[in-house]
């Protein structure tokens, strides 16, 4: 065990993956000598050489196109997109290629070895182009797995599982927590399961659901609610696609109430999928409407960030509203 921040945990997972498998390769813009603008790949080029950890030219569609080819060849590419806001030039390579590679070939070829890492989310005064949470764009794409960790321990275990998973995985890293989130992380190798939500805190009155950096927010809201005598069951979805319907259904069947919170704008975000599924699966158990506490339906602002975000106070209000419905 060691104290690590989220960046260290990721760096440590990459180190383990590259050590165990000489076909693992890390690359992306500034990923090589410099170790990435956030330093997640720090030291890897030194340790594994320039052929296995390197800077790419500045072209996201190329980074992922290259990674797709490398994965199809049998190597294990771990590609970094410098900010999730800049993943869109690679959208075609991800949505039309990575996601459909195995299916279209009848399993003659696949890119299951591919992992795409990218820092996402707001709260860092980054404005509309350094704050986006684009997970929902990918969640509408069968063939992809989408994973978001909430802390260093989760990050290491989920990243190792993502790298080893035999499907293309997009791994969204909550950059606001890169240095802010610190915790005990085993030094040895371990994995956390993909496709499984985690009940972080059991509770009885209402279910709170989120993922990534937003977990901190709902936990804070749950504390406020606890002071009012409301017992919240807190769930970390962890994998957005394919998501763990069963765990959420079981929880809401028990509590009868659900608040889902996401950083991204409300409309057509992943919270909508959750609400749509749960209203169906738990129709007879729901005691109040499922609430979605999300970003507003605008680009991510800069100076009015505080007002814009789905903060703990908004989640807390939603909890109370749901309980008093």
């Amino acid at each position: 065990m060691a104290q690590m921040n989220l960046l260290h945990a990721i760096n440590n997972a990459l180190d383990i993956a590259m050590t165990e498998n000489e076909r693992a390769v890390c690359f992306g813009e500034d990923v090589g000598h410099f170790g990435g603008v956030f330093r997640a790949t720090s030291g890897l080029q030194e340790k594994f050489g320039k052929l296995r950890c390197f800077n790419t030219p500045l072209v996201e569609q190329g980074v992922i196109g290259f990674a797709n080819g490398l994965a199809a060849q049998g190597s294990v590419p771990i590609a970094e997109i410098q900010f999730a806001d800049y993943i869109f030039p690679a959208f075609d390579q991800i949505v039309n290629e990575s996601a459909k590679f195995r299916y279209r070939s009848g399993n003659e070829f696949d890119v299951g070895n591919l992992t795409i890492r990218t820092p996402y989310g707001g709260g860092i005064a980054g404005g509309l182009y350094h704050s986006q949470s684009p997970e929902a764009y990918f969640a509408h794409t069968p063939g992809l797995k989408v994973v978001v960790p909430r802390n260093p321990y989760q990050a290491k275990g989920l990243l190792l599982a993502s790298i080893r998973d035999k499907n293309p995985v997009i791994f969204f890293e909550p950059k606001r927590l890169y240095r802010a989130s610190v915790g005990e992380v085993p030094l040895e190798d371990y994995q956390l399961p993909l496709g499984k939500a985690e009940i972080v805190t059991p509770g009885s009155d209402i279910t709170l659901l989120a993922w990534g950096a937003q977990m901190e927010i709902i936990e804070k809201a749950a504390e406020m609610a606890a002071a009012d005598g409301i017992s919240c069951e807190i769930i970390d979805l962890r994998t957005i696609l394919p998501w763990d319907i069963e765990t959420v259904v079981n929880s809401v069947t028990k509590t009868g109430r659900l608040v889902v919170s996401q950083e991204a704008p409300l409309t057509a975000g992943f919270a909508s999928e959750i609400a749509a599924t749960i209203q169906k699966e738990c129709f007879l158990h729901l005691e109040s409407p499922i609430a979605r506490i999300c970003g507003m339906d605008t680009p991510y602002p800069l100076s009015l960030e505080k007002e814009y975000v789905a903060d703990h106070l908004k989640v807390y209000e939603a909890i109370k509203h749901s309980i008093n419905y």
Binding site: P57, F66, L70, E97, F109
Partner: protein
């Protein structure tokens, strides 16, 4: 560092603009249409046996294209694309490589797959998307693929295979294999951003990939002069620092020579090569297209005279490696075989309903299994509405 560029550029004190004509790009021609070799031309490695294999592949290609267009007209097939008039590019490219080299094609390079030995049945099963199709009946006709033959399954979105080929070749290099990747694309696809990404990354990261541009003058209805304003696609190689050659794409010996040399260089130097093969798409873009809407019969006729298969035949005849009797026998046999194969393939069942959910992931997720289960119940309720599958659901 750019310091080098800064230091090494010759210095001038009056504006000196350069332009597309600052670089001259010769075109390699080895074989003339009448079957004689140009004087002084350097021949590729080729002997009677390999030449015969190439020629038979070209013949098979011509016959398959002819028959499948006819089948499509008869309504037996939904869609087809020929490579009429530009078969030498794909067949000659494959013939210049080793079997372990990966072929990443656009869609008009079935010739390369034929050369590798993909069976007539396999072609048919793909086109009729029946349950024996290696691709499980999921893609439109002509989207072939074979792991065994190192031929990457075709993907419709254009140019996506270009940076992928760079990555694939980089992986081959990392493993130290005696193998390169060839990446085919049209001059139209070369306009995509992925082209730029793939070529630049290959040059920077030294991937042993042969970029093979089939410049056939059209992208559907769009003529090449509305596609680019430079000197073809070859002139772009200069910008990436990629060794580049322009060849007569209808000249099988030039194709072979360029590909053989490119392979040797790519492997020895771990560097990409760009080949631009000049040709002409003699047929329609696909069976959904009618070129009379955008070009003249005269233009087509001019290119008919450059038929690459006839050109090779003339050479074979001149070499006495082939004769007219063999020609007739071969074409007759091919036509028969293809017709027979159509009849077999079109009768084979569609894939089973279970194939709807396989290969989306390595294992179908829970939700997808539930969707399939629900679908089966539904199909049993309305069997007449789902005739291909209803009878086969347990």
């Amino acid at each position: 560092m750019n310091t080098d560029v800064y230091k090494e550029s010759p210095v001038v004190h009056q504006p000196a603009f350069i332009d597309g004509h600052s670089v001259e790009i010769p075109i390699l021609k080895v074989l003339q249409q009448d079957g004689t070799v140009y004087e002084g031309a350097e021949l590729p490695e080729i002997d009677q046996e390999s030449a015969t294999k190439i020629y038979k592949t070209l013949a098979f290609h011509r016959v398959l294209d002819e028959r499948m267009v006819a089948s499509q007209r008869q309504g037996r097939l939904s869609f087809y694309m020929t490579a009429l008039g530009e078969e030498a590019a794909s067949v000659g490219g494959a013939a210049g490589l080793k079997p372990q080299d990966m072929i990443m094609a656009q869609y008009r390079e079935q010739g390369a797959l034929m050369y590798r030995g993909f069976s007539l049945e396999n072609f048919m099963n793909q086109m009729f998307s029946n349950e024996k199709d290696l691709g499980k009946g999921r893609q439109m006709p002509i989207h072939y693929g074979s792991r065994e033959l190192n031929y990457m399954t075709i993907s419709s979105p254009l140019a996506t295979q270009i940076p992928q080929a760079t990555g694939y070749a980089y992986g081959q290099k990392l493993q130290g294999l005696d193998a390169v990747t060839i990446c085919y694309f049209g001059e139209g696809a070369a306009s995509e951003g992925d082209f730029h990404a793939g070529l630049n990354m290959a040059a920077v990261h030294r991937a042993p990939v042969i970029f093979f541009c089939r410049n056939n003058g059209y992208a559907i209805s769009t003529p090449a002069d509305e596609q680019y304003a430079g000197n073809g696609i070859a002139s772009r190689g200069v910008g990436y620092g990629i060794k580049t050659i322009r060849i007569d794409g209808n000249d099988i010996l030039a194709v072979l020579k360029a590909t053989q040399d490119a392979r040797t260089y790519a492997l020895a130097e771990n560097k990409p090569v760009l080949i631009e093969a000049m040709s002409y798409r003699l047929g329609a873009h696909s069976t959904s297209d009618d070129p009379s809407g955008y070009r003249t019969r005269e233009e087509e006729a001019k290119w008919q005279a450059h038929d690459p298969i006839l050109r090779m035949k003339n050479w074979m005849l001149a070499n006495k490696w082939w004769d007219e009797a063999q020609e007739t026998t071969l074409f007759d046999k091919l036509r028969e075989e293809v017709l027979a194969a159509v009849k077999v393939a079109e009768k084979i069942d569609k894939p089973p309903v279970e194939d709807l959910i396989t290969d989306v992931y390595d294992e179908p997720p829970t939700l997808l299994k539930a969707q399939l289960a629900e679908l089966k119940v539904h199909i049993k309720k309305y069997p007449e509405a789902y005739p291909f599958t209803a009878g086969r659901i347990k």
